[in-house]
Structures are given as structure tokens and as C-alpha cells.
């Protein structure tokens, strides 16, 4: 479904990605793992067209994404929960949800505000709060809801549960598994490896702008060396 | 030394040598041009302290220049026409400190109010105060209203004779160099670091324990006083002082010099002043429609040269100052 081939990206004159290769099948839940500053966010932003790759290719359902305007990429069915939440501060919580909502691909059972509230009841009482006044955790929930409202085929979450209380975290993992079960693919960055091992099918470990290792949860659990070397425990 | 320091030295050396050479070879007009340029560059350098390094975009800086000029003009006016004997003098040793003091005071009072606001609100409130001063002076008939003040006499100073164009240029040039060094010293000092930090993230600076407001106000007063000094020179240069000197479009021009040359750099404002004035002079002698190419030039610089001319000239790997 999503294929990255020798993807390279530069920030000005400094290179951040040195040829990322990655392959994600439909319906899979995959993770990007790696220490701070290794290029996870850069990979994701390159896929979304937020930063412009300097080489390589990205295809989604056979369509080339490199060079594509970011909104066109999104309309092909990619939904993003960005690092740092990026809630629209001057819109109310409700407006944040509906402003960019769409159902381009004609999902038969599209996401609605009600479904999001069922997932995150905490949000419902804050409908008319301005985005920037929400607490950190509330913003994170909203960011996930907002991405779901675009009814994507592939949901990408960067630091999916940063700042969320343990209870909410559990709920999100649960929800993600459920969503995946309904056929949505998911690419997630997070640091709660325990949880990720449980829900993900495939893991990609990024080290200095390259995918150094990939494999299933079972393989990763079994492979102490990789964990030591790239993840640090 | 970096490429940039060499450039600064070269430009300043040219600015010191060329105008007198023009003057002595029978082109006195270009000396005048250079004097005006140096004076405006002082104002631009002082504006750069708060605009470039402090992130405080003052859109009323011409008011300081104008006030400085009136601080020279009003004593001279009374000396010529009588009235207010305690003020009447032609001594530069009174007029120039007066200009600096008046502007510092004006900066202190208006800055105390303006600095409560941020961003574009700050831009506009500084302009509002400048406009108030503008209309105030326009309404004082004693000082010529909008016709302005004609002073037939320049400030009397020891050593230099301002009626001699070479002396006037020399004084302006030296003042410019001093102003540049002063600003450079300030921005590199601990005070300057706080000022620049507050530009990037005032909230963080406050939680670190810096009273951002007080630091900004201090910078604002320093900058205003320096511009007042430039105004005193300008009054002497033109021997004619008009409220038009503090019109908002003049403040705009000072801003443009800073941005054009490159904000938050030592040479930037001077380079901006040079390009601005030389382009104005050169283009306007071709056609009365010179605003068209001039406007296109401004747009081109903005669109294609990030960080102004200094940004364009910045060598690879050389960081900002």
C-alpha cells in the first residue's frame, strides 16, 4: 500500500534521511522506532509532503507522492496526527473537528463527531473551548479525532500518546486495534514499546536516517541485540 | 576575520574616502548626499537595535529624528527672533544634549505605554505617538506649523565648523561609526543577549527571571536618544526643520533601510541606507517615474534575497551575529 524507496531528505544543507526503505501492506499496523533525532518525524513529514524529499520515491496505492502538494496527498487517504498536536488555536474544539472533515473516498460508514466523542468522552464537555486553551492531553485526543474525521485509509500518528494519562493511553491502543481491524492501515511513532508490541504487526527501526532493522513483534521481542543497539534497553 | 567583517571595513572605508574626493574634485553635491546618507544611517542603526535585535518594530522612529531636529531649531529660532530667552542659543553643546535628552524622555514616556502591547499593535501604537507629535508641531504657529522652521544658523561647536560641508560630513561619519560600534557592543553584551532572547521568546525570558519590559524599555530609550542625535545633525544639515521629517512615511523609510540592508547585522542598516539613497538619487535623475523601478527593486530584494542584502552576501556556514 505504502512504499518508500531510497527516500532522502535534506534540511538546507544538512541531510536528515539517507535512503529510507519501507513497505506497508493494507490493513497493517506498523511502527517507526528509534531514538530522538533519528528521522522518524522527517520520514513522516516527507510522506505527507510537508517537507520536500530530495530523492527517492514514495508511492501510495501505486501513486507517486513525491512532488505532490500536501493536500493532494491527504486527499488520497492519508490522515496525520502530527508531532506537537498542532491544534488550530483560534478554532473551537468542535470547529477543529469539522473544519477539515471530509469523506473523499466515500467510506460507507464515515467517522462522525458522535463517534469521536464515543472514543474520547473527555472532549464532549469542551465543545466550545478554543483550541489553545485545551490541556495537553485534550489536544492530543482532538488531534486524533481530527485526523479520523478525514476518513483516511492510512492513519499516521507521530508521538501518538504523548502527554496522555495511562487510562486514556490504553483506550487509544484499544481504539487503534479496532480501527485497524476494520481495514484501516496505521503507521505509528510512540515510545510505549510494551503497548506497541501488542498491537503492531510490523516494526521499522530508524537509525541516523536509515531503516536499520525491520520485523514482527515476536522477532523484535526475541532480538535483544536490536533492542540494545538501537532502542537502548 | 569573516567575510562579513571585511565587507564592513571596505564599505565604511569607501564611505569615508569617496565623498571628500567628490567634493574636492568639484562635485559638492555628492558630499551633501553622503552627509544626508550618514545621518539617516545613524537613525537606521539605532532603529536596528530595537527592530533587528529586539524584535520591536517601531513605526514612529522618524518622530525622534524630527524632535532632535526641533531641539536644534527651536533654540536657534528664539536666538534669531527672540522669546523664551532661557532657551535661546546657537551653542551645539546645549542643543545636541537637549536633543538627546528630549528624545530619551519622549522614548521613556511613550515606550512605557507602547511596550505594553505586542507585535503589530506595537507597530501601530508607536506610529500613533509619532503622528500625535506630528500634528502637535503642525499646530504650533510660532514654529512655522507645517511650513517648518527656517534656521539660518548652525550649531556652534568647538573644533568643528558645521558651516563647512567637510566638517559636517566628518562629524556625521564619525558619529555613524560610533553608533555602529555602540550598537554592536550593546547587542553582544549580556544586556543584548537578554534583548535578543526576548525577541525570540519573551515568555521564556520572564520565567528565567528577566524583567523583559524593563530591558526593552531601556533599549527603546537608548535607540530613541541615538535617533535624536541623528535628528540634531539632520537639522544642522538642512537648516530647515519641518514636521514632514516625522511623517509616518519617513519612519517607513528608516524601517526599509534596516530591512533592505539586513536587520540584526552591524552593517545592514548602513548598507540599506546607501542602497536606498543611491538608488533613489540615480533612478530619479533618469525619470520622474522612478518610483516604478524603485518599487520593483524593493520587491525583488524582498522576494529573492532573504534577510536583506546582508542575507544575500552571507557566506556559507557563517552564522548570524
Amino acid at each position: 500500500m505504502l512504499v518508500l524507496d531510497k527516500l532522502t531528505t535534506h534540511y538546507g544543507s544538512s541531510q536528515a534521511l539517507f535512503g529510507v526503505d519501507l513497505r506497508l501492506e493494507a490493513g497493517q499496523v506498523a511502527t517507526l522506532l528509534g531514538r530522538n533525532g533519528m528521522g522518524k518525524t522527517t520520514t513522516i513529514n516527507s510522506i505527507m509532503g510537508i517537507v520536500k524529499p530530495s530523492g527517492g520515491s514514495i508511492t501510495f496505492d501505486g501513486q507517486e507522492l513525491v512532488g505532490q502538494a500536501s493536500f493532494k496527498t491527504a486527499n488520497l487517504g492519508l490522515g496525520l496526527v502530527p508531532e506537537g498536536r498542532q491544534i488550530f488555536p483560534n478554532l473551537t474544539m468542535m470547529e477543529n473537528l469539522i473544519a477539515t472533515a471530509s469523506n473523499h473516498l466515500g467510506h460507507p460508514d464515515p467517522w462522525t463527531v458522535e463517534k469521536v466523542f464515543a472514543l474520547f468522552p473527555e472532549l464532549e464537555t469542551r465543545i466550545s473551548s478554543m483550541g489553545n486553551l485545551l490541556s495537553g492531553g485534550e489536544q492530543q485526543m482532538l488531534a486524533i479525532g481530527r485526523a479520523l474525521m478525514t476518513n483516511p485509509k492510512l492513519l499516521i500518528l507521530d508521538e501518538a500518546t504523548e502527554g496522555l494519562a495511562p487510562l486514556v493511553r490504553q483506550k487509544i491502543w484499544h481504539a487503534l486495534s479496532e480501527i485497524a481491524a476494520q481495514g484501516m492501515s496505521i503507521l505509528v511513532v510512540d515510545k510505549n514499546l510494551k503497548d506497541l508490541l501488542r498491537i503492531a504487526d510490523r516494526h521499522f527501526v530508524i537509525q541516523r536516517g536509515r531503516v536499520e532493522w525491520q520485523g514482527s513483534s515476536a522477532e523484535l521481542e526475541a532480538n535483544d541485540e536490536v533492542r540494545q543497539k538501537y532502542l537502548g534497553f | 576575520m569573516t567575510r562579513r567583517s571585511w565587507l564592513t571595513l571596505a564599505v565604511m572605508a569607501l564611505l569615508a574616502v569617496l565623498p571628500p574626493v567628490f567634493y574636492l574634485t568639484g562635485n559638492p553635491y555628492y558630499l551633501d548626499l553622503a552627509t544626508r546618507l550618514a545621518i539617516l544611517a545613524i537613525a537606521a542603526v539605532s532603529l536596528n537595535l530595537i527592530l533587528g535585535y529586539g524584535g520591536l518594530v517601531s513605526f514612529g522612529h522618524a518622530a525622534f529624528v524630527g524632535l532632535g531636529a526641533y531641539a536644534v531649531g527651536i533654540p536657534a529660532h528664539h536666538w534669531l527672533y527672540g522669546g523664551l530667552d532661557f532657551l535661546a542659543t546657537t551653542s551645539g553643546l546645549v542643543q545636541i544634549p537637549l536633543a538627546v535628552a528630549v528624545c530619551a524622555l519622549f522614548a521613556l514616556v511613550t515606550g512605557a505605554i507602547c511596550l505594553r502591547t505586542k507585535g503589530v499593535y506595537f507597530i501601530m501604537i508607536t506610529m500613533a505617538f509619532a503622528q500625535m507629535i506630528y500634528y502637535l508641531i503642525v499646530s504650533i504657529e510660532e514654529y512655522g506649523g507645517d511650513d517648518g522652521l527656517v534656521i539660518d544658523t548652525r550649531s556652534e561647536l568647538p573644533v568643528v565648523n558645521l558651516d563647512n560641508p567637510l566638517h559636517l560630513f566628518g562629524l556625521s561619519y564619525v558619529a555613524l561609526v560610533v553608533a555602529m560600534l555602540l550598537v554592536r557592543m550593546i547587542v553582544r553584551s549580556r544586556f543584548g543577549m537578554v534583548l535578543q532572547g526576548a525577541k525570540g521568546n519573551p515568555e521564556r525570558m520572564v520565567t528565567l527571571g528577566f524583567n523583559v519590559y524593563a530591558y526593552r524599555l531601556t533599549a527603546y530609550v537608548i535607540s530613541g536618544a541615538m535617533s535624536g542625535f541623528a535628528g540634531a545633525l539632520l537639522g544642522n544639515f538642512t537648516t530647515f526643520i519641518s514636521p514632514e521629517m516625522m511623517d509616518w512615511s519617513r519612519s517607513g523609510e528608516l524601517m526599509f533601510m534596516v530591512i533592505l540592508g539586513g536587520a540584526a547585522t552591524t552593517l545592514g542598516p548602513v548598507l540599506g541606507a546607501i542602497v536606498f539613497i543611491v538608488a533613489e538619487e540615480a533612478l530619479s535623475s533618469f525619470t520622474i517615474y522612478w518610483h516604478l523601478p524603485f518599487g520593483l527593486m524593493l520587491m525583488a530584494v524582498v522576494l529573492f534575497a532573504r534577510g536583506g542584502l546582508m542575507g544575500m552576501l552571507r557566506g556559507r556556514g557563517e552564522d548570524r551575529e
Binding site: - | I125, G295, M297
Partner: protein, 307 residues
Amino acid sequence: MDFSLLIIQALNGVQLGLLLFLVASGLTLVFGILDFVNLAHGSLYMMGAFICASLTFLFGSFVLAVLVALPLTGVLGFLVERFVARPLYDRDHLDQVLGTFGLILVLDTLAHLIWGPAGIAVPLPGWLQGQIAMSETLVIPTFRLVIIGAGLGAAAGLFWLVNHTRLGMLIRAGASNRTMVSALGIDIQTLFALVFALGAMLAGLAGMLIAPITEASIGMGNNIIITAFVVIIVGGIGSMKGAFIAALMIGLIDTMGRSFLDDLFKLFMSSDAAENSAPAVSAMLIYIIMALVLSLRPQGLFPPRTR
């Protein structure tokens, strides 16, 4: 003080206020919402006036001219967005100020080259030319009422657009975080271009409406742009409601100041002193208001709920 004069002056103030609103609303859209400082907004106002003036003579009808000139100024706004504004969205305000100042010089000089320095007086059709007598002493030029109507109509439309449509939400969202709006599947570039064109049309409309009263002249935009900035600052940048209320407030205070300040001053100073100081103070009035408002409320009267 004469009561009907007071009413006439109030209406004059409202009319000035609404005209200011037309200019300020476009400015606040582009500035408050696209976060782009467009000093050349006033030049679009001027271009609107000149285009409409030329077309009035071409068609022989002011109304027809306005109808054709409106989309033309929209197209002009579109071009300005494409070639000047768009490359500058990511830059800081200062670059935008410098770039659009350059644009002012270009547009003013172009207007000088195309239409000459003289300016054009725009004739009104007979039915707009006259006055309406509301009572014996209350007589108002018809056209001023037309301006009031147009201003109110535009205000209502804008208010609805920005606050009650999804387009409005997107525009506001785009103002705070363009990248994110785009990453969520919205073609923000086209959206911004449309908003910019809308702003240009509003400014152009104001120019068209003022041209029959003053005239189309070079530099007319530079006179109004400062006042329009004062309006949106006093109202709170990006707030349509703020722009509306501040425009009316400034229109009224300015008009009332011009009409009654000298009488007011005569109450407590000599009539000579009053006659001298009243015009000076009334010229300063809008700046005094702005400084006062900002020293009490540093974000204007109606700060947008966040920034």
C-alpha cells in the same frame, strides 16, 4: 446645539464609518486571517476607484461600471496574491511590509502613467445625484445613503461568511497553521487566493463608492490605509466584529470631533484658542483614541479569542 444638525452629523459619521469598514474588513481578512500585512491594500482601493471611473465614462453608467469593476479588482487581487503575497506568507511581517510598500510605489506610478496625475471626477446617475429630505431641515445626499446600505450589506455578508460557514473556519484555521490545514487535505493556496481576492474586491468597492464623492486620485489609497489600520487595531486584529464596531466608532468620533470640538473647547477656553486647538486635536483624534485603547487593552477592543 441644533438637533437636526446632530442627526445629520451622526449619519455622516456612520457613512464614513461604513466606508472605513469596507476597507478595514478586507484588510483584517488579509492581515488578521492570512497573517499578511498588505500595505498595498490602499492601492487596491485606488485601483478600484480608477477602474470604475474609466468604466463609468466608457459605459456611461456608474452602476454598470461598478458591476464590471468589482470582478476586475478581484482579478487584480488574485494576481497580487499569486506574485507578491504568496511568496511572502512564510516570511515575517517586516518583509511583507517592505514588499508591499514596493508594490504601492509600482501601482501608484502605474496609475499615474495610465490615468495621468489629474485624477478623475466620477459622475453619478441622476437618481443618485440628489438629496433626500427627511424633514425640512434634515436633508442628506442620496448617494451617502447608498454607501451606508452597501457597508451594512457587506458587513452582514462577511460576518456570516467568517463565523458561520465551514469556509470561514478553514480560513481561520489556515491563518494559524497553514501546513496543517494542507496536510489535512485542504487546498489552502487556492483558498487564500480567494480570500485575498475578496479583500481586494472589498477595498475596490470602497474606492468605487468614494470616487463620486471625492474623486479617483493618485495616492488616495495611502491616505486611507493608515486609518484602516487604526480601525483594525482598535477593533482587534482579525475580528470582523471588532473592525465593524471600531470603524463606526472612529467614523462617528472623527465626524463629531470635526463638527463640535471647537464648540466644546469654547466652553472652557478663549474662542481664539479653541479655534486653533480644535483642528489640531481633531486631526490627532484617531491616534489619541488608538493610543488610549491600546494602553488600556493592548490587544484592541475585541481581541480574537486567541493569537
